[in-house]
Symmetry: C2
């Protein structure tokens, strides 16, 4: 690869402006109120791929939001890279906690991002990281250095479970045929500690509803005499963990992969400061499963978190009511070998079983996905490692992530190829949170590093 730095320096401001324009469209897939914005974003991605140099770009309609598919074929004898990303974003609420409006991107310097970071919903997850690949393609095409074939598959439902992408993949195995899948939707340890994600957690996301009396009741006239759905819901959720913070669902841990002492020792080598971690979150203590370190708890151990809870009167002031219903959204992060449909079923059975008389319980599965592991001895991993080494000046550390990209396991199953997770974001980028941001340095470093992956992967395939 020649002149990567020069090309990026020359087009730096345009690269940033194009991303900012994309971030201005509130493509929230979880909320029907933003339907048109999500559709507009798909068209913006189509346009960007064409301008970057794709020969053909199609917008594939699905039962949900469309999938943008583009490709640049140069020689069928050369390997093919399939780039996956998503153009939808998480909801931005709570809005009041944003220092600047989530869809009015601004660049501000931070301690970790002295060159400035772009603050906006989706800046890192995943519009910013997806767009690095679009600009990397532009560089390779415009400078005649694209060493292999490339396909892009950018979806609009990653934040709501990718159900329609799964259908699309199963129906287009040939079109999507590839030698390696490349995704930037994860993070790295630090700007001076590059890392490659080699493991992802699975996910089971459910919504529960507890119903007591057939109507809201006066807590004076009925208080103490009937089951209060909120009190019951808190009891039931509390019962899902034991005193060691282990999940109490029967069978939940049956298939959990237990790492060897060696593997855990290897993981422990990654630089980590518990004090810095706690300070960054303003907490006086971490909290989790007994017997595991913080990095183990959020990477190799399954979890159960309530992501939302509501019931009764939540407005201003006071209302003395016993509500008819109480609700919660609950997600379980799973580790390799745990099967998400099975876990969803175990949860449902158990949750129904622990409901006391006086209430009825409904569990509605939302979505889920399997965990995933990338072996570090593959050509794909080696090519990525060499690419980071070239642009960062040091070998990246293989790292398990606690996050989930449910579709990755399905890619391997349906397309038979491995996925390389080249993430350039940082944990502190606040994805899924108010004030999400993505470092300008990280954005440009990604655009610089990605072409080297194409180069080394193509060379390693020949040799």
């Amino acid at each position: 690869m020649k002149n990567t730095k020069e090309y990026i320096a020359t087009h730096r401001n345009r690269f940033i402006q194009e991303l900012i324009d994309l971030l201005k469209i509130p493509s929230v897939s979880a909320d029907p109120a933003f339907t048109q914005d999500v559709l507009d974003t798909a068209e913006a991605v189509e346009k960007a791929l064409l301008e970057a140099g794709c020969d053909t770009v199609e917008i594939h309609e699905t039962a949900g939001y469309p999938i943008v598919y583009g490709e640049k074929q140069i020689d069928s004898s050369l390997p093919t890279v399939l780039v996956y990303g998503h153009y939808d974003v998480q909801p931005a609420d709570p809005l009041e906690l944003w220092d600047s409006p989530p869809y009015e991107p601004v660049i501000k310097k931070t301690e970790i991002h002295p060159e400035g970071a772009i603050f906006a919903r989706g800046s890192c997850d995943d519009k910013g990281q997806m767009y690095m690949h679009v600009k990397a393609l532009e560089f390779m095409v415009k400078t005649d250095q694209l060493p292999c074939n490339v396909k892009f598959m950018i979806e609009g439902e990653e934040e709501v479970g990718s159900n329609n992408l799964a259908v699309f993949v199963k129906e287009h195995r040939e079109k999507l045929a590839n030698d390696i899948i490349l995704i930037s939707d994860t993070g790295m340890i630090a700007n001076d500690v590059p890392s490659i994600t080699t493991g992802l957690r699975g996910l089971s996301y459910v919504e529960v509803e507890v119903t007591g009396p057939n109507r809201d009741l006066h807590s004076g006239l009925y208080g103490g005499a009937v089951a209060n759905p909120i009190n019951i819901l808190t009891k039931m959720i509390a019962a899902l963990h034991d005193e060691n913070n282990r999940i109490t669902i029967p069978g939940f841990y049956n298939k959990v992969e237990e790492l060897s002492a060696e593997e855990r020792a290897e993981m422990a080598k990654a630089p980590f400061s518990l004090e810095a971690y706690q300070n960054a979150l303003d907490i006086d203590s971490v909290y989790g499963e007994k017997g595991y370190t913080t990095n183990e708890r959020n990477a190799i151990r399954p979890t159960l978190d309530v992501n939302g809870i509501w019931g009764g009167y939540i407005g201003e002031g006071a209302k003395t009511v016993i509500p008819s219903k109480a609700y919660a959204k609950i997600s379980m992060r799973l580790v390799p070998n745990q099967d998400w449909p099975e876990i969803t079923e175990l949860f449902t059975k158990h949750f129904e079983a622990i409901a006391p008389k006086g209430v009825t319980v409904k569990v509605t599965p939302h979505h889920g996905g399997q965990g995933y592991v990338t072996p570090i001895d593959t050509i794909g991993y080696q090519a990525a490692s060499k690419a980071y080494e070239t642009t960062f000046g040091k070998k990246p550390i293989p790292q398990r992530s606690g996050g989930s990209i449910p579709i990755v396991a399905l890619f391997e199953q349906e397309l038979g190829s491995k996925t390389i997770l080249m993430g350039f974001g940082l944990d502190s980028d606040a994805i899924h949170s108010p004030n999400e941001h993505f470092g300008v340095w990280n954005y440009l470093k990604g655009i610089e590093t990605i072409p080297y992956f194409y180069k080394f992967f193509t060379e390693m395939n020949k040799g």
Copy 2:
């Protein structure tokens, strides 16, 4: 009293229409969005009292919503009745559960109300029951049968704690001097089983806030490693009851009045069908403190109910977030002898004490009030009993209510007089719930019965 039935029959439709007009004003004291409506309601009450025959009516400004005070003095040697009521109402949400808009009153027949019931927020609690007294006064004045002096004190903050009424009462002891206080803000057992409320529960209402990390976090990257404020809040709330559904707050039961076997046997005589109770609420079982019946649980035993809970993502679809904060509104119903400020302090200390490391807890007291008991051997109770006997044809049953009218205990303390609770609503009227209603029969029966109380109370005072 002469011609009560005739007068009511003649003016029936106007009495109903006037109440409907009052119910159209959404006087929700808990929600600042309705400020002007609450103020408009105060003026409507002022107008109604003047038209009913009060000599003077004043709107007393307070730090919150005004108190409407009116009086009709006929002879200082005669006894004085002080009527208390409130013109504010509970919030109407959840609006989607109303069969007709809460502030567009409609009259519909029901099984229990064959003559029809007025459906609207506040129809029973307390606009409808308060207005019975206004119309009873009109009858006595227009027919020259008012046997004693009468004072009206109608406030606009009962649903939010009556804090400013307490100040008003302390500052106007002389103005409010009376021989008996009369309130219709409770219910009776059934239209053919009249009852008088002789006991009220106290109340302590608090709001709690649990804070974990300083921002919302991605549940994949942080799940399992940090305390999730929602999970913690459910654990803490669940821990407030033991396996027998007794409240675990140290000292909570210290001052609870334990009724004798005789008193409990007397209470048990009130007609009650557990099956009918469960069917009316569509529940397969009641739920409460071990060792007590349903009627005991909601009348003579203290309780702790969550009235509202919220945290995390509660919108459409799914969001994998660990929120920074989770909240709950919690109210405790207290029994006579329990001191609400003391209970509020015990709750606060305990709730802070059971917070695990990794979160901080904030408890904000909302409001509260003491419990109350009316002895049945007083002239006031006897006069009320005789009034019911006259219009219902049978002796009313003395009954403890689970509800709270915090101000009643303060009346006795500051004004030195007892309160008679002549309620004409039914538990099934759904006060504080969607589709609140008040039977037309009950409304008119109240207007018919109240004048007899004035008559008998005045006679018993002379004799």
